[in-house]
């Protein structure tokens, strides 16, 4: 932020929004009120359990099965999105074709749709007698009521995050850069690998993190398509809801704390990876 003053520089540079002190104060208050406070309450609630009770809840085989599904399917879905979201963003940025605006608008649909509706829609399509399901069934592929269905739902939910973060980054890769690389003798793969990918990688990682985070927290769409078989297709958020329905608030809080911890670690890892990638680029350029 630099403002070039024509007149003598005032002591405090004027800005559109009120001063730094006020905004920082508001930011801190806001974050505390809606993020930190509830999280603290969650931890406090869980803390009412003794250590052994706590471990009993979180290491219950059913709970562990649900972690595996929740985090595994989210990671898988985010990975799928990294590939196909990139392709979609590429298509939208690089090509002009009829109906482009409609497709562009459709990308945001999962944002707007109540997740339960997505879940019901997906179940209809992928159920054994559904439009797509009936053709997959003879091939021995069951989508609805298996972990595949969960992944499909999470992919759908996470897709707009990926596309919308990669799109602006791709727009930054000017055609000139590719042209320059081409005249210097680079082939298509080389151009993609050395020029395009490094430029969009930070955005790709951000998109991945967002899609992953959204997947872990997803509830509405998954519960319809997963079938909710304990140990097999039961996600952690559902397990928490079940505990709540049994008025086991402490157990629910304990599971919540575990989710919180794992999500935090994973997002932190992605952020560190990003920072490391940036440093690497600035230092050696490869």
């Amino acid at each position: 932020m630099s403002a070039v003053g024509v007149l003598a520089k005032p002591l405090r540079q004027p800005s559109i929004l009120p001063g730094f002190g006020l905004t920082l104060g508001f930011t801190t208050f806001f974050l505390s009120a809606i993020v930190l406070l509830p999280l603290a309450a969650l931890v406090l609630m869980a803390a009412k359990l003794s250590w052994s009770e706590f471990f009993d809840v979180i290491l219950d085989p059913r709970a562990i099965g649900s972690y595996r599904l929740s985090f595994g399917a989210s990671l898988l879905a985010a990975t799928i999105n990294a590939v196909f979201g990139f392709v979609i963003a590429w298509t939208l940025v690089r090509y002009e074709f009829p109906g482009k605006r409609i497709i562009d608008a459709l990308i945001d649909m999962p944002f707007a749709l109540p997740t339960a509706v997505s879940g019901i829609a997906l179940t209809t399509v992928f159920a054994q007698n559904g439009w797509v399901g009936q053709y997959l069934e003879p091939l021995g592929i069951k989508v609805a009521y298996t972990w595949i269905g969960v992944t499909v739902a999470l992919t759908l939910i996470g897709m707009p995050f990926m596309v919308r973060t990669v799109q602006p980054a791709l727009e930054e890769v000017q055609k000139d850069l590719e042209d320059a690389a081409e005249t210097l003798g680079a082939g298509r793969f080389h151009i993609f690998r050395r020029i395009i990918l490094p430029t969009v990688l930070p955005a790709l990682l951000t998109g991945f993190a967002l899609a992953f985070a959204r997947g872990v927290g997803e509830y509405g769409s998954v519960i319809f398509i997963s079938g909710n078989l304990p140990m097999k297709t039961e996600i952690t958020p559902l397990l928490i809801v079940i505990k709540l329905e049994e008025f086991d608030y402490r157990g629910a809080a304990a599971l919540g704390v575990v989710m919180l911890a794992i999500s935090f670690v994973m997002l932190l890892a992605i952020n560190l990876l990003q920072a490391w990638g940036r440093r690497r680029h600035t230092r050696s350029g490869r």
């Binding site: 000017q174 000139d176 850069l177 042209d179 320059a180 690389a181 081409e182 005249t183 210097l184 003798g185 680079a186 082939g187 080389h190 050395r194 020029i195 490094p198 430029t199 680029h281 600035t282 050696s284 350029g285 490869r286």
Partner: protein, 587 residues
């Protein structure tokens, strides 16, 4: 020849953006492609680089045909206006990019990099990122990167566009120095004529996709062949004058000149602002007197003083090719410090205007005279979109003239005024043939027949009825085609009865015509040889689409009706330009 372009054409959605460009660039030559934006110069450069395919023509680098070769295999170095550096790589990695692609050994890479950085005066900047460099330094890196793989040619696409004046100057010098040191053939694209003058061994001026003229900077400046080059390279006043046996006359036609034996014809003359002399009165002028004027504006620009002088007394006689602002004729004048000291002028002062030197353009189309039978028709005709478009592009004027003779019925041509300025223009009517004959017999050399709704042509068909009309037809065609973005097709038609053995001869004549057009007028045209009835074949060609214009050259007026009657009657959908020059030996 290190770069050879042969009839290169590139179309976007049917519209030619590069139109039949042929050029040969020599070993170690610094060639500048100069033109306004949208003239096709950058597209042409991209075509040479292989980043854009061509629809027609051939591109060769050092004798190797690369027309269908991809950019990565052509081995050219390309520098972009916005540098196009890889921002996530250091200077070293940017420069070594091409070497890495070629799997060069590390030690060799480093050596080459050091050498290039020395060449562009950026030693020690190896580990910087592009973002840490100034614009000028970034462009130096881009130049070094483009030279890394020892390309056969260096292509520069407006490389100084994003830099400020001082840095630009410095970088120009560096690039020119590097280019000389390496002896590498270079093509630079720019819209800045000063830059072109400063750097070029040879300049090629492009407009509307066509390469209009090529030559050394000084040649192009002092002896341009086209209005566009005359006005684009430096400032120019365009004057209309009459060329007679006794020299050029500026001013209204004088009776005695018209009665003289030979035809006098209208010419376009280029008067450079620095060739104008101002003096207190006619007798103190050192140069030949042109007119009286009043100083309207003086702008001090340092070394030079720039003036606008309105021609007062005698301005109705001196005809400027285009009086663009209002009706007043203005001359642009520049004067050096010594001139200013010798005769200081103030705004509003009356002065005598003299001209030291003019250059007459060899263009046969000087201006247009719209002719019709009454006021309203003349008015409509001189506002015809195609005519207005042509006149604007040619920076010339359309004179309106009422000729009752042209009305239907009365066909006594002798009452027609014998004096014509430039090409006569009439609107297409059932009896246009009569009018054409009429105008030609009374001294018009070109008659342009315009259908009411004719649009800018995409293709210009050229045909001459006999060899005597060939030179003039080519000259007029070239003059017209410089101002429209259409492709030129010369159609030769031989009788169906031509024996098989003689047919190759027709082909040879065709190629001769093509090379003449290219050599004399710099006009690139496609050629077609057809066998059959002349009128029938031309009609068939014209009926293919409506956006065609036909240029028909004749050297005899008698027999026009018999030979082309049906063509002239039927061709009312397409514009037609009849070029007439008396055959030698006739009187």
């Amino acid at each position: 020849m290190s770069i050879t372009l042969d009839q290169v054409t590139k179309r976007y959605q049917g519209v030619p953006v590069v139109n039949d460009v042929s050029v040969e660039i020599g070993e170690g030559e610094f060639f500048v492609l100069l033109g306004p934006s949208g003239s096709g110069k950058s597209t042409l450069l991209r075509a040479i680089a292989g980043l854009t395919g061509v629809n027609h023509g051939r591109i060769a680098l050092h004798g190797r045909d690369v027309t269908h070769m991809s950019a990565r295999d052509r081995g050219v170095g390309l520098v972009f206006q916005n540098y196009a550096l890889f921002r996530h790589m250091t200077v070293a990695d940017n420069i070594e990019f091409a070497l890495r692609v070629r799997r060069m050994k590390r030690a060799d890479r480093v050596a080459r990099r050091k050498e290039l950085l020395r060449l562009v005066a950026l030693e020690g900047m190896d580990e910087r990122l592009p973002a840490q460099l100034s614009g000028g330094q970034q462009q130096r890196v881009a130049v070094a990167r483009a030279l890394a793989h020892k390309p056969e040619v260096l292509l520069l696409d407006e490389p100084f566009g994003a830099l400020d004046a001082k840095i630009r100057e410095e970088l120009r010098r560096t690039i020119r120095q590097v280019q000389r040191e390496l002896g590498i053939s270079t093509v630079l694209v720019t819209h800045d004529q000063e830059e072109a003058f400063a750097m070029a061994d040879r300049i090629g001026v492009m407009n509307l996709g066509r390469l209009l003229e090529m030559g050394r900077p000084d040649e192009l400046y002092t002896r341009p062949a086209t209005r566009f080059v005359a006005t684009f390279l430096g400032a120019a006043n365009l004057l209309l004058g009459r060329q007679t046996k006794n020299g050029i006359h500026f001013g209204a036609p004088q009776a005695h000149l018209l009665n003289g034996s030979g035809r006098s014809h209208e010419v376009v003359a280029v008067l450079r602002p620095e060739e104008v002399e101002l003096a207190p009165n006619r007798h103190t002028l050192g140069a030949s007197y042109l007119a009286a004027g009043k100083v309207e504006e003086i702008v001090f620009t340092g070394a030079l003083e720039r003036l606008r002088v309105r021609l007062t007394k005698g301005s109705e006689e001196v005809q400027l090719a285009r009086a663009d602002s209002g009706d007043d004729a203005h001359l642009e004048v520049t004067r050096t410090q010594p001139e200013q000291r010798a005769f200081a002028v103030k705004v509003g002062q009356d002065v005598a205007v003299g001209i030291r030197r003019v250059h007459v353009l060899p263009t046969p189309l000087s201006s247009f005279t719209a002719c019709a039978a009454n006021e309203t028709e003349v008015e409509t005709l001189s506002k015809h979109p195609l005519l207005v478009e042509l006149a604007t592009r040619m920076k010339t004027r359309v004179t309106a003239r009422v000729e009752p003779v042209l009305a239907n019925g009365s066909k006594d041509c002798s009452s027609l005024d014998k004096h014509f300025s430039g090409a006569a223009v009439i609107s297409s009517q059932p009896d246009s043939l009569k009018s054409i004959e009429c105008l030609l017999t009374r001294g018009a050399e070109e008659v342009f027949v315009l259908p009411p709704n004719a649009a800018s042509p995409q293709r210009v068909l050229i045909h001459w009825a006999d060899e005597a009309a060939r030179a003039a037809t080519l000259a007029v065609s070239a003059s017209l085609l410089r101002h429209v973005s259409a492709e030129a097709v010369y159609v030769d038609i031989k009788p169906e009865t031509t024996p098989e053995a003689d047919r190759p001869q027709g082909m040879r004549a065709l190629l001769d015509a093509r090379s003449e057009a290219q050599a004399v007028h710099g006009l690139e045209m496609r050629t077609e040889l057809r066998f059959g009835d002349v009128t029938g074949e031309l009609l068939r060609r014209l009926s293919e689409s409506t956006d065609q214009l036909l240029i028909l050259g004749v050297s005899q007026i008698s027999g026009l009706a018999e030979r082309f009657g049906s063509l002239l009657a039927a061709a009312s959908r397409s514009p037609l330009l009849v070029v007439y020059r008396e055959a030698e030996g006739q009187s």
